[in-house]
Each structure stands twice: as C-alpha cells, then as structure tokens.
Amino acid sequence: MPKTSDLMDQVKRTQVWRSLFRHDIPRDERGRAQVVLTNIFLHLHPVRTPKSGIRVRYTWCMGGLTFFIFMVEVVTGIMLMFYYRPTLEYAYTDIIDLGEQVPLGIMREIHRWGAHLMIITVWLHMLRVFMTGSYKPPREFNWAIGVILLLLTLMLSFTGYLLPWDQLAIWAITVGSNMARATPFLGHEGPGAAFLKIGDVGLVHAGNDARFGLLAGRFVGEGALLRFYVLHCLAIPFIATILMAVHFWRVRKDGGISGPM
C-alpha cells in the first residue's frame, strides 16, 4: 500500500493540480511571496506589509470587516432574492415564508443584522482612519471616496428597510422620505420652490418634486417598493462595488496601509 505522502506527491504532479496551483505549498519566503502575487484575491495585499499595519490594535480590522460583511450581504441577499417578489401582493407574505417555509430560515436575520453591523463597522473604520490621521496627503481623495461609500452603505440599508413591507418599513421610509419634500427649490414644501412658477402655475408640486422622484409616487406605494428594490439589489451595489475597487486600488497606490511615512 502506498504511503499518503507518496499519494499526495502523485496528485501534485498531475496536470490538473499544476494548472490550479502555480507553486508549492508556501513554506519559504519565495513561496509566501508567490502565493500573494499569483492569487487574484490575495493580491489586494502587497507581498510585505509594515508591521504597524498588521497590528489589530492599530487598524481594528474595521475596513476589512466592512468589506467582508458586504460580501455576506451579497450572498444572503442573492438567496433572499430567490424567494422575494417586490409587489404589494406578495412582499409581506414572502417575508413570512422566508422565516417559516424556507430551509435555513435565518438568511433574513443574517442579512438584516449584518446590515446594521456594517453601518457600525463603517463608522468605526472612519473613526480609526481619522484618529490615525490617515486621510492626510497623499490620501485625501481616498478619504472622499470612503465618505461616499459610507453614504452608500446608509442608502443600501435605508432602501432595504422598505422591502419587508410591514408597518415598521413603510412608516420608517415615510418619515425618512418626507425630508425630501423640504429640499430647497426641489421639494414642494421647500424654501424657494414657491418662486419657481410660470405665471400662476407652480413648477414644483407634490407630483414632480424630489420626494416624488424618490418614491415614484405621492406616497410610499407600489412604485416606491419597486424603485427601492432595484436601488437596493442592483443600482447601489453596482456603484458601491466600483467605488470599493477604486478605494482598495488607491489604498495600494497611495502608499499602502497607513503608517507614519
């Protein structure tokens, strides 16, 4: 009977194995550099990192955790999309089914609590970056990207809040979107909107102001549900993914993990 190590050597010599892994198990310095360079996921990192940059006490790992929770949200979100229909008729009952009929029925819990957690980790990431002065040159632009990503995280959570279509959902979105009514010039109850008129006909009214654009209607109804669904599942994640790529790219290009340069 062949020994296990011999068998393993056999496997490693096969064409399949060698096409998957371009190098041996990383045991020496060269291998450890190679594994980071040849793997698309690991190559987000540089081969070598300053020691200060890997101390948890310094970075709190908050940016990484935020990215990881985003991926958790994508995966659980895709699973939820298999069962959820964004219509007044089905939305609420589909949510009930998610908990009661669907195997592994805690996907909605992971998705919801993950969303809350992501908001907290984004804020703490911002706190860490501020407290270590990591927004200072040459990282000014990346800080701005980060602020937009923070805003997108809030918008992701806000749009998702409507989807269960229960009392909590529509009233939270009603309260939130009522603000848009008061947008200066663009909301029909905002300062300045009264001046935008031709003769006696007002140009900004409840049927075309900023809130109407957000809700696709005069109140939170079918149009708002579809609009928030598309924003939540496609539009905002699309923008956020692009900006995340820019964010990570710029971390590397602007001198790597922050430290006293």
Partner: protein
C-alpha cells in the same frame, strides 16, 4: 432605588445629556487618567452594572429589547470602547514623543513582515470571530416583522431607521429643510473637505492627541455628541408625539407637553414692543434675517484675530473661510438647541409663507 431611577430619568433629558456628553468630549479628551486600562475597566464594569440593573425595569427592557434597537446598544458599547482604545494609544504615543522618542507606529513601520501568513492569518481570525458573532445574533434574535403595511394607520411615534434618528432628533430644533436636507449635505461635504482644510502635517499614520487637539476635538464632538448621542436620544428617549421619556419611564401616549416656544419676531413685536406682528413678512422677520446674517459674517474675522489666529496664518483666506463656514454650520446646531432650552425660542426667522424657517 427609585430615587436613583428618577435621577437617571432627570439626567437623560436632552439638554443634560447633550451637555454632559459635550463636557465629556471637551474635558475628557484632555484628561490623561480617563484613557488607561484602569479607567477603561471601570467604564466597562459601570456600563455592564448599569445595563443589568436597568434591565430589571420593565420600561427600560421594552425599549432596549426591541430587535431593531439592539444595534444601538452595540454601537454605544463599540464607540465607547474604540474611543478609549484610540485615545489610550494617542496618549501613550504623546508621552513617548514628549520623552524624546517617536510614536510606536514609526518604529514598527520600518519593519516589514510577509503578508502571508502574518496579515492573512489575522484577517481570517477577525472574519471567523465576526461570523460567529453574526450567526449567534441571527439565531438568538429574530428579525422584526410587524403587521402588514397599512397607509391608513400611522404608528405613534413614527421613527426613521435608527441610523437616521440623529437627523430626526434635529427636527426638534430645525425645520426639515435644514435638519433633513441642508445639514446632512453639509456633513457629507464637510467630511470630504477635512483633508483639504486640515493642513497639519503632523499625526499622519499614528495615534496622537497633542499634535492635533483641535481636529480631534471637533471630530469627536461631531461624531460622539451630534451624531451618536442624538441617535441614542432619538431611539431610546423619544416616545409618542416625539415627547421626551426617561429610560425608566412608561411611554404614555397621553403625556401633555405645553407648547411654549415663541418665534423671535413674536418676542420683538409682541412681547417687547407690544405692537403686534407687522403684516408684511420682510418687515416682520427682518431682525431674524439680520441676526442670521451676522452669525455668518461677524465671527470669521473675529475668530481670525483671536481663537483661530494660527489657523488663519497657516491656511490662508480661502481655506480659512471654508473651515470657519463649516465650523459655524456645525455649531449652529448646539446654538439653536441652547436657544430652545434656555429661551424657548422656536424660530429665529419664521417665514412659513415660503417654508423658510430657521
């Protein structure tokens, strides 16, 4: 016991809570003794004891165990912990610098380690720990689902999602166009402007407080007081009709609060001059408009000669003007709060004809 509870109820009224947290930021950041292991431990124990004690109270339990409010308890704990962690390291570095050394990050920065395994390993542990926490949370607490949506039945209070409750709490003091549109926009733009306004080259890449006290104090004031504390108030302490309720108080929907707030124009024309409000809005509100204009015109040159003298010299007129404008907009919130608490002032400028209330 009851006396303690009523003391806490009394202390958690917005003016006291905001006042106390402001003092905590302004004085606390400068107090070395707060950012030690001992102080951190005392703070943690105090929080746990307070929480366990309060949990016996039915009213406190109802509001804290609402599923969507759990994140705020976490937020409170995390913000406290990470504020302590960063300030502790900042003070340690400052002491090292004062003794002629360099911040610990500086000595460690020169040393490079291999990403695989050192960094990848730490990332993996963080991910696993967080996943365990998230799974436990998801198994233990069910996601909330209330009755089906009913546009005809407005709940009281109607609240936005918890992370926007700071903004909703601002609605007490400012109209929606400021609290819901202008201020959030300024927060976003102001945050993005930070690196272009803060030209202090020190403190890049390591924790420090003494090398950038102004930046850290202002940021902490904005984050801890104007954002987190307002969220805590908006979530835990605002009940039906957005009335204030202490943490141990029953949310009585019939609680009556006298509406005693008065506009500046009513102060001037009714109370002081006794002539009654003028018909034309511009005459009526001209004093308020002048006051608001003065608020934005007078302080910049005065501050440039006094408190912000060094900034003015260092930044130049353009950057300085932007800094002061953002600063004044930020301070406008506590200013209006104080006017409300101490003078019952409702609006400085009240032009409901054009939805322009300040």
């Amino acid at each position: 016991m009851e006396a303690f509870k009523s003391l806490i109820n009394w202390l958690s009224a917005p003016e006291k809570l905001i006042g106390l947290s402001t003092v905590f930021v302004l004085v606390g950041l400068r107090t070395r003794q707060l950012w030690t292991n001992l102080a951190g431990l005392i703070g943690l124990v105090a929080f746990v004891v307070f929480f366990l004690f309060s949990f016996q109270d039915p009213n406190f339990r109802i509001i804290v165990t609402k599923p969507d409010n759990v994140p705020i308890v976490l937020l409170f704990l995390f913000v406290g912990f990470f504020m302590w962690l960063s300030m502790k390291q900042a003070w340690e570095n400052d002491e090292r610098i004062a003794a002629g050394g360099e911040p610990i990050e500086k000595s460690e920065y020169k040393e490079k380690v291999l990403t695989w395994p050192h960094l990848v390993y730490i990332e993996l542990i963080c991910l696993v720990l967080m996943t365990v926490g998230l799974l436990l949370w998801s198994i233990l607490i069910q996601a909330p689902l209330e009755e089906p949506a009913n546009p005809a039945k407005t709940p009281n209070p109607s609240k936005a999602p918890w992370y926007f409750l700071g903004l909703q709490e601002m609605l007490v003091y400012y109209d929606p166009w400021i609290a819901g549109v202008v201020l959030p926009t300024l927060v976003i733009v102001g945050l993005m402007a930070i690196p272009y306004i803060d030209r202090n080259t020190k403190g890049a890449g390591y924790y420090t407080f003494k090398e950038r006290p102004f930046a850290i104090t202002v940021f902490m004031f904005g984050f801890v007081v104007l954002w987190v504390a307002l969220i805590v108030i908006g979530t835990f302490l605002r009940g039906p009709n957005w009335n204030f309720f202490g943490p141990y108080e029953y949310w009585d929907g019939h609680k009556l609060e006298a509406l005693v707030n008065v506009n500046l124009s009513e102060f001037i024309y009714v109370k002081w001059m006794g002539t009654g409000l003028p018909q034309f809005w511009l005459v009526r509100e001209v004093w308020g408009l002048i006051l608001v204009a003065l608020y934005f015109v007078l302080p910049p040159p005065i501050l440039a000669r006094t408190l912000f003298k060094d900034f003015y010299k260092q930044l130049g007129i353009e950057r300085y003007s932007i800094l002061v404008m953002f600063f004044l907009c930020m301070v406008a919130l506590p200013v209006k709060m104080m006017l409300r608490w101490f003078f019952n002032l409702k609006y400085i400028v009240a032009i409901p004809e054009y939805f322009l209330n300040v």
